[in-house]
Amino acid sequence: MQAFLDIFDIYLLEAVVNGILLGGVLALLALGLNLIFGVIDVTWICYAELVMIGMYGMYYMVQVFGLPYWVAAPFAILLVAALGALLHYLVIEPLLTAPPINQLLATGGVLFILQSFATVAFGIDFRNLGIRLPVLAIGEMHFSYSRLLAFIAALLGMLAVYFFMTRTYTGTAIRAISQDRQIMPLMGVDTRRIYLITSALGGALAGLAACLLVLQYDVHPFVGLSFGPITFLICVLGGLGNFVGGFIAAFVFAEIISLGGLFSDLEWGYVLAFAFFIVMMFIRPAGLFARRS
C-alpha cells in the first residue's frame, strides 16, 4: 500500500508540474486574445489558426530551408504579427461599425480560409520539426525541456508585453483606448494606428506561441482545433479583456487538463475542463475575477 502511494504521488506531482508548464503557453494564447478583445472589442475566432500558420512557418524555415531554430523563431513571430495586422486591416476595419457578432463571424470565415489554405498548400500530413529536446529527470519525475522552454519563453513574452503596456507611450495609449473608446480620439490618439499595432501585437503573441507549440506537437491544418476551444473557455472564464483573470484561468484549466489526463485520456481532460467551466458559470457567471459593478 505504501509503495503504491509513493508511486501515485510522484505521478501526481509530475502531472501538477506539467500542468503548470502547459498553463504558461495557454496563458500566452489567452493574453493575445484578451488584448485584441480589450482594445478593439473584437474576438478573433481564428486565433488558433494563426498559431497553426506560424507553426507551418517554423516547419518550413527549419525543415525545408534549414534555418536554425533560434533564427527562424523571430521570423515566424514577425510573419504572424503581419498576418494579424493584415487580418485587422482587411476584415475587421470595414466592420468596425457593424454589429459585433458580424465581426466575430467574419473571423470565423477567416478560420475557414486559413484551415483550407493550409490543407491546399501544405496537405493534411502531420509534420514536425524533427527536433527532439532531452528530458529533464528530477528524482523519478520526467519533464521535457521543450515544455520547460515553452513555459519560460511564455512568461518572458508576457513580461515583455507588460513592460510594453506600462512603460511606453504606445502601450499607454493602448490601455487608455481599452478604457474609453470614444474619448481617446479626442485626446489626439490615432485609433487606427493603435488598432493596427494591437492586432500586430496579438499576432506576435500567437507567433510566439506557435514557436513554442511546434516543439511539442506535430503541425497539421486542423491543429488549431485542439487548443482553440480551450483558449476561448479560458478567456471567458477569466473575463474577456481581463488580463489577470485570463492568466490565472489558464493555469486552472491547464491543471484540470493535466490531472484529468493523468487518470484517463487527454481528451477526457478537455471534457472535464468544459464541465468545470459550466459549473463555474453557475457560480461566477461574469468570469472568475469580475468586478461587481
Partner: protein, 323 residues
C-alpha cells in the same frame, strides 16, 4: 384561395411529383442533401435571427447522428426510437449549456465562445470514445437485414429519401412560420434589442431564450440523425465540430438569415458550390470548397449582411415594414 396559396400548392405538388418524373439518381442525391441541410440551416436560423448566434450546433448535430447510430449498432434500438432519444439528448445538452448562459446574461461574444467550445468538446468526446464511435475514422450504422428496411429507417430508393427529406424540410418551414407568428417572436425581438427593457416589459428573458434554443437544438439533432441514416456514414468532421457549426452560419448568412427561405437558398448555394468544385477539380478540390466558403462568408458579412434572398426581397419591397 389567394395567389399566394395557389403558388404554394403548385410548388409543393411539383416538388412531390418530381422524383416520379425525374429519376436521375445523382441529381436526386444532391436534392436530398440540399433538403436535409436546409432543414439544419433553418434550425440554426430560428435562433440565429434573434441575435442568438450559436456555434454549438455542430455539437447538437453530432449528438443526433451519433446517438442514433450507436443505439442501433450496439443495442439494436430502431432509429424510430433512437432518433427521439438522440433529440432528447441534444435537448438536454442544449439546456445544460444554455441555462447558465441565459440565466446569468452571458450574451454576445461570450455566448458565441461558450457554444463554440461546446461543439469542440462534442468532437473531442466522439474522438475520445473511439472504441465505440470509431473516432475520427468515422462510423457506419449496421445494414439491416433485407425486408427490415422500414424498421431500421434504411431505404435504398432515392425517391423514398427524397420524400422524407422534403417532408422534413417542410416541417422546418412550418416551425419557422409557427415561431414567426407566435408571441415568442415579439418577445425574442424585444430581447435582441434590449434585454433589460424586455425584462422590464414583462418578458421572461431566460425562458423565452431557452425555448427557442431548445427548438433549434432538437431540429438540428433530427437533421443530424437523418443525415446519418441517409448517408450511412458519419465522421466527427462531417456532423460535428466547429467546421460544421461555421458551415451552418455561412449558409444561413449567405442565403439570408431573416427570411424563411433564406437558409434553403443558402443550402442550395453551398452544396452546389461544393459539388461544382468537386466535379471540376476532382480530389484536387479537397480544401478548396472551404476556402471559397470562407472567402464568401467574409465578403458577405462585409458587403451583404442580409444575405442574397434577404437583399433581393428588400429590393422588391420598396417600403419594407419596419423589421
Amino acid at each position: 384561395m389567394n395567389p399566394r396559396h395557389v403558388a404554394w400548392a403548385v410548388g409543393l405538388a411539383a416538388l412531390v411529383a418530381l422524383p416520379f418524373v425525374y429519376r436521375e439518381p445523382y441529381h436526386l442525391h444532391i436534392l436530398v442533401l440540399i433538403l436535409i441541410w436546409s432543414f439544419a440551416y433553418t434550425a440554426w436560423s430560428i435562433m440565429g435571427r434573434f441575435g442568438l448566434v450559436s456555434l454549438g450546433h455542430g455539437g447538437f448535430m453530432g449528438v443526433g447522428a451519433y446517438v442514433t447510430a450507436l443505439l442501433w449498432n450496439h443495442l439494436g434500438v430502431s432509429p424510430w426510437i433512437g432518433i427521439p432519444v438522440s433529440m432528447v439528448a441534444a435537448g438536454i445538452l442544449a439546456l445544460i449549456v444554455a441555462y447558465p448562459c441565459f440565466r446569468f446574461r452571458i450574451t454576445g461574444h461570450y455566448f458565441v465562445l461558450v457554444t463554440l467550445a461546446l461543439s469542440g468538446i462534442v468532437l473531442q468526446v466522439i474522438t475520445a470514445t473511439r472504441d465505440y464511435t470509431g473516432g475520427s475514422l468515422g462510423y457506419t450504422p449496421n445494414r439491416a437485414p433485407s425486408g427490415h428496411g422500414l424498421m431500421a429507417l434504411q431505404f435504398d430508393s432515392k425517391t423514398t429519401w427524397y420524400l422524407i427529406a422534403l417532408g422534413i424540410w417542410l416541417l422546418g418551414l412550418l416551425v419557422w412560420r409557427w415561431v414567426d407568428r407566435s408571441m415568442s417572436r415579439y418577445a425574442m425581438e424585444a430581447i435582441s434589442e434590449d434585454e433589460d427593457a424586455a425584462a422590464a416589459a414583462g418578458v421572461n428573458v431566460t425562458a423565452e431564450k431557452l425555448k427557442i434554443t431548445l427548438i433549434s437544438a432538437l431540429m438540428t439533432a433530427l437533421a443530424g440523425a437523418l443525415y446519418c441514416q441517409y448517408q450511412m456514414f458519419i465522421s466527427p468532421d462531417t456532423v460535428s465540430g466547429i467546421a460544421v457549426s461555421l458551415q451552418m452560419v455561412f449558409a444561413a448568412i449567405v442565403g439570408g438569415l431573416y427570411v424563411s427561405f433564406g437558409p434553403t437558398v443558402g443550402a442550395i448555394i453551398t452544396i452546389m458550390l461544393a459539388e461544382v468544385l468537386r466535379i471540376r477539380f476532382g480530389t484536387g478540390a479537397v480544401g478548396w470548397d472551404n476556402l471559397v466558403y470562407g472567402l464568401l462568408l467574409v465578403l458577405f458579412i462585409i458587403f451583404l449582411p442580409k444575405g442574397i434572398l434577404g437583399s433581393v426581397l428588400d429590393r422588391l419591397k420598396p417600403q419594407p415594414k419596419k423589421a
